[in-house]
């Protein structure tokens, strides 16, 4: 592997900083986030490495990394970071940015699940788990995944067969239509919180 670097080396990091309000260059690659990451053994790029790649302008590699999708959003990394970097937020930012730039998710199951989940919320205002699971399995082309659990859940009354929608669906429609990828941030981003 060879990285070709030029004077624009901080471009991607600045983009992430302005989108997330976090300071990417505060990271000194101590590895504490990677050390405690619950999905660490399932990812190729550790969070430490992913941030390093951001620092070195490797946008394509970062947006195509599986790591942000496998992130369980448990925030253990953010909680323990010695430099107060919200690592989980960086993962989230990369994921949203990839979606905004129409980069195909390298972990199709996670993308399919998110899609199915949000479809369900969008049309009902609430999660309709039975429908969502079927929708996920169809999107994911694994129609029989966890099929054994379904009947038991139904039997135990844990899956409703019909959606229970909210009254004011307009509200939800509006939220889905109007929400942007990123929250607005003032020009001077990246101010450290103390």
């Amino acid at each position: 592997m060879q990285l070709k670097l030029d004077n624009n080396v901080s471009q991607f990091a600045e983009e992430i900083e302005s989108l997330s309000g976090l300071k990417v260059y505060d990271c000194y690659q101590c590895g504490k986030c990677s050390a405690g990451c619950p999905v660490g053994q399932f990812t190729e790029e550790s969070p430490t490495r992913l941030i390093r790649l951001i620092q070195l302008n490797q946008k394509e590699a970062v947006l195509n990394s599986r790591t942000p999708y496998l992130c369980a959003t448990c925030s253990t990394c953010s909680e323990r970071c010695p430099m107060n970097i919200d690592v989980a937020k960086i993962m989230e930012t990369v994921r949203i940015l990839a979606s905004r730039e129409h980069v195909k998710s390298p972990v199709k199951e996670v993308a399919a699940f998110s899609g199915a989940f949000l479809d369900s919320v969008k049309s009902n205002g609430r999660l309709f788990e039975f429908g969502m699971t079927i929708s996920f399995n169809l999107r994911n082309l694994t129609p029989l995944k966890d099929a054994m659990l379904g009947p038991v859940m139904l039997q135990k009354g844990k899956l409703a067969l019909w959606p229970r929608s909210i009254k004011n669906k307009e509200r939800i429609k509006r939220i889905f239509e109007k929400s942007s990828y990123f929250e607005p941030r003032a020009e001077s981003t990246g101010k450290k919180e103390h």
Binding site: P38, E79, I166, R174, K178, S180, E183, R185
Partner: protein, 287 residues
């Protein structure tokens, strides 16, 4: 006593017994819960990892409804919902720009502060430990419980600002108050992979295994939770974990409200203790 109540999607479906047991406990303690009218899904993980504003707006919309209804204190028993509502509040407190955007997106503005409580805070700070203690009929004597907080109750600590993120104590205190024994174990706040429960099964099996072995070696007979995601994950997947890792875990994963219910003398069926994947028979026998 009447408080706002945000059940979230799970308490009506996969976490039915959480809702049932909470209702039973509240009836017993004469706590009146007013459901937030026409509440919607908090967005959970998929919303905020897809669009930042969507994650905030879905949660904010509920705060909006609660404030219109005049609710000042809202109980969010589901740890995921609690976390999302707290995150929305935190983000809005720290950004006027975001507040403006939320007003645009939802077409409304929260009129007064809506405080959000998780289940542990609710019984500790709002209802009060002394009141609870007075109502106990059947102390959970001899019950070794591993209190499992997971991620969302305690992290990010600056957002939820609830308990020590490394070694929280509030659920342990509650178990002791109910007469049970809380074991000292290492995985209290380890992630169970709940947000990957459906899409990435391998991950959750591995994480679940770690949690069960830790609880078992600490001498726990069951795991108590306050999060529907953790419960579903650990309860539903235990069988698969045993298959994959050739283990023999038979550890009921119960909601803290179910244990409270038992201590308050409510029948196991009323608490939904019959709807678990891993049998709660041994536990129920004692009551």
């Amino acid at each position: 006593m009447a408080y706002g109540y945000y059940p979230g999607c799970s308490l009506h479906s996969t976490a039915k017994e959480y809702g049932m047991s909470l209702m039973a406990v509240c009836r017993k303690l004469s706590i009146e819960l007013n459901e937030v009218e026409d509440w919607n899904c908090c967005g959970a993980t998929p919303a905020h990892t897809t669009k930042e504003e969507l994650g905030i707006a879905l949660a904010y919309s509920n705060l909006l409804n609660a404030s219109r209804q005049g609710l000042e204190e809202v109980l969010a028993p589901c740890a995921a919902c609690y976390n999302r509502l707290k995150t929305a509040k935190y983000a809005l407190n720290h950004s006027e720009l975001l507040q403006k955007r939320m007003d645009e997106i939802t077409g409304g503005k929260v009129e007064h502060e809506v405080k959000v409580f998780n289940i542990l805070e609710f019984f500790r700070d709002i209802y009060g430990q002394d009141n609870l203690k007075a109502a106990i009929l059947k102390p959970l004597a001899g019950l070794n419980v591993a209190c499992y907080y997971g991620c969302l109750l305690v992290r990010p600590s600056k957002v939820v600002n609830f308990d020590d993120p490394e070694d929280p104590q509030s659920m342990d205190e509650l178990i002791r108050l109910l007469g049970g024994t809380s074991v000292n174990w290492s995985c209290k706040t380890e992630c169970c992979g709940g947000s990957h429960a459906i899409p990435e099964t391998d991950i959750v099996l591995e994480l679940g295994k770690r949690i069960f072995s830790s609880a078992q070696s600490a001498g726990a007979k069951m795991i108590a939770v306050a999060c529907p995601l953790c419960q579903a994950n650990l309860d539903m997947r235990q069988h698969q974990i045993n298959e994959k890792y050739k283990t023999d875990f038979k550890m009921p994963v119960v909601y803290i409200t179910q244990l409270m219910g038992l201590a308050l003398g409510i029948s196991p069926v009323e608490l939904g203790l019959n709807s678990h994947f891993v049998s709660t028979g041994e536990l129920v026998k004692q009551f």
